[in-house]
Amino acid sequence: MADAVLECSGLHKVYGDLVAVDDVGFSIAAGETYGLLGPNGAGKTTTISMIAGLLDNDGGTAVVSGNVITTKSTAAKAAIGLVPQDLAIYPDLTARENLQFFGKLYGIKGTLNERVDEILDIIELSDRADDLTKEYSGGMKRRLNIGIGLIHKPDLLILDEPTVGVDPQSRNAILENVERLGAEGMAVLYTTHYMEEAERLCDRVGIIDEGSIIAEGTRRDLVAMVGERDRLHLELSGDASVVEGSVSAIDGVDSCSAAGSALEVVAVSASRALPEVILAVNDAGLDVHSVQITEPDLESVFLHLTGKALRE
């Protein structure tokens, strides 16, 4: 990809006998949000640490904005904004002081104060900017943690499970911010083990387990890759078995089974199959009381690929 902000390949990290990251590679274009989805211990943080130049790797390369990143590639790190999984802020400094401190380390000179104010505004901490961060709520600390990673307007923003332990309101604010940053053209690498977050935010998702990326693509790609189908659950006004045959014959419907007044339909696309299913039911003189559609999600993809649930 010519306009890739991040391009990494063959990343490898070993801790003793444990291969924490094994041949991981992917790329992210400007304006694209890429999700690394995987359970605890999958190797997300380790992968990110190598991409951000925090950890010496045991193989592979990461190139960000045209520069190879190692722990020693000081200048090139200016293109990356890292938001670590664990809060990395000074509790005995204020939000403003934390932002100023890291702003200076990112090499921001004349405009630092304005930039700090801007960030405080974005993370909605302007009114608490001069309180020590140890007095903040968990959500406020998380927001500051993210703000620090944005202070220098990086090409690539890396967020490592930024919503863990956050109340729903802060969580939503964080997700909205990430969506906006992506829309503004920032490349975002987002790790999570929340399937919903990956589905909502990410243009493409890499599913990582035990150190390897086992599948990658858009949500649709991934779902299609494992052949999962949409599920329709209908409650009818009478015996569902009378429509079993006619519904099964509908184009795009894989299978149909009746149980009392309930009808289970498996289709390639629920939205395309549903009108015809309802017509068939009405033709048989029955009414549809309710419909429930379950689209296959990344959760079921993960289950399919690994035989285990994303979250234990």
Binding site: A52, G53, L54, L55, D56, T71, K72, T74, A75, A76, K77, A78, I80, L82, P84, D86, L87, A88, I89, Y90, P91, D92, L93, E97, F101, F102, K104, L105, Y106, G107, L132, I148
Partner: protein, 383 residues
């Protein structure tokens, strides 16, 4: 530049915690005061007292000086021999009561008691005891003279009378007669140096906890994710600690000088001792902060280690009273070298060249520890 940013944040964070101001600045000064008042230099001075044998007034003042509990009096005969022992630091002062002491006083002349000391701690105490003894006797003698003048009696007889009525006459304004000459010791001097070293090292070691906190919080790591080299991070943390310890050292030196008249000797040499010792402390603190992973463990170890090293290195009990083997052991601690250096500066009025060895050892210690800690810290950061 980034090194300075990181160093400055260390200082800012340290002083944000108000209790640190107490531990770093107030407590050492309070301890120097209390220990100086209670113990002088922390041990009993030994004073050689030379007095004529059959002189009643000399005998009186000898008794009042030697009954003082502030120091130990050693009878001596030969002035030159006693002064030689003083120069070898075997004793802390020499008091010489002249052969014609009683005679001169009774004749209405002033007699001068010679007082020799190196500018050692405890000198102040010795001197004030001698002065008090002279003042006491002077009151009696003045009263005697007054009585003799008034009654035309023989001064010796009048003196007996005066001694009897001393209580009532002592209220007459008394001037100290009999000069006191010699060095200008101060009971706080060496004690202050010992406390200075103890506290600088304590601060250096305990400040390792802030380093561990930065690492544990992931802030150190986050610094590495910015365009800041590992070297600049290690350098900044090291510089921050060095500045904290220097700030404390300079404060103690100045405050003890202003408040207690502590003489630190040659200012350039004293500054160099403080700097090289701060360097050593910084290195030790950085190493501790790099090796330990828990602040509690490091904090406990820091206090224990700082007190152990201080005790071993002569910052609690002076090295002079250590047995020879212990003196050798003591010199594995930086404190012993620091205390030696200050003893040379304070007691013997030495300069930079006289403490070149001590400065070299402290610098070597400091640089070696800083180099070692940098390697460990860097490894911890990127692996």
């Amino acid at each position: 530049m980034k090194t300075l940013t990181i160093a400055a944040s260390s200082l800012r964070r340290l002083f944000r915690e108000r209790s640190n101001i107490f531990f770093i600045f107030v407590l050492p000064i309070v301890l120097i005061l209390v220990l100086g008042l209670v113990f002088g230099s922390g041990f009993t001075s030994r004073v050689a007292l030379i007095a004529p044998d059959n002189d009643e007034l000399a005998g009186d003042i000898t008794v009042s000086i030697s009954t003082s509990t502030a120091f130990e009096t050693i009878p001596a005969d030969d002035v030159e021999d006693a002064r030689a022992r003083l120069r070898r630091n075997e004793i802390d002062a020499v008091i010489v009561i002249p052969d014609d002491y009683g005679e001169s006083l009774l004749a209405g002349d002033n007699a001068e008691i010679a007082y020799y000391s190196t500018p050692s701690s405890g000198g102040f105490v010795v001197r004030s005891v001698v002065e008090a003894a002279i003042a006491e006797q002077a009151a009696v003698i003045r009263a005697g003279r007054f009585a003799a003048d008034a009654t035309d009696a023989d001064p010796a007889t009048a003196l007996d009378t005066a001694q009897l009525v001393q209580g009532s006459i002592a209220a007459i304004g008394v001037e100290t007669e009999g000069g006191v000459s010699g060095g200008s010791g101060n009971q706080f001097d060496l004690g202050a140096a010992q406390q200075l070293l103890l506290f600088m090292f304590l601060t250096a070691l305990t400040s390792s906890t802030a380093l561990i906190q930065s690492r544990r919080l992931g802030v150190s790591h986050r610094m590495l994710s910015t365009p800041t080299s590992a070297g600049a991070i290690v350098g900044g943390e090291t510089l921050g600690r060095f500045l904290i310890v220097m700030l404390q050292g300079v404060f103690i030196v100045v405050a003890a000088g202003v408040l207690f008249d502590v003489e630190w000797g040659d200012p350039v040499a004293a500054t160099l001792v403080v700097m090289t010792f701060a360097l050593t402390g910084t290195g030790a603190g950085m190493l501790l902060g790099s090796l330990f992973s828990s602040e509690q463990q490091a904090g406990g170890f820091a206090i224990f280690g700082a007190l152990m090293l201080a005790a071993l290195g002569g910052s609690m009990v002076p090295l002079e009273i250590f047995p020879d083997t212990m003196v050798t052991v003591a010199h594995f601690t930086p404190h012993a070298w620091g205390n030696d250096a200050f003893a040379t500066l304070i007691r013997h009025g030495g300069g930079v060249t006289d403490i070149a060895t001590e400065l070299a050892v402290l610098t070597a210690y400091g640089l070696a520890l800083i180099a070692l800690s940098s390697v460990v810290f860097r490894r911890r950061l990127t692996h």
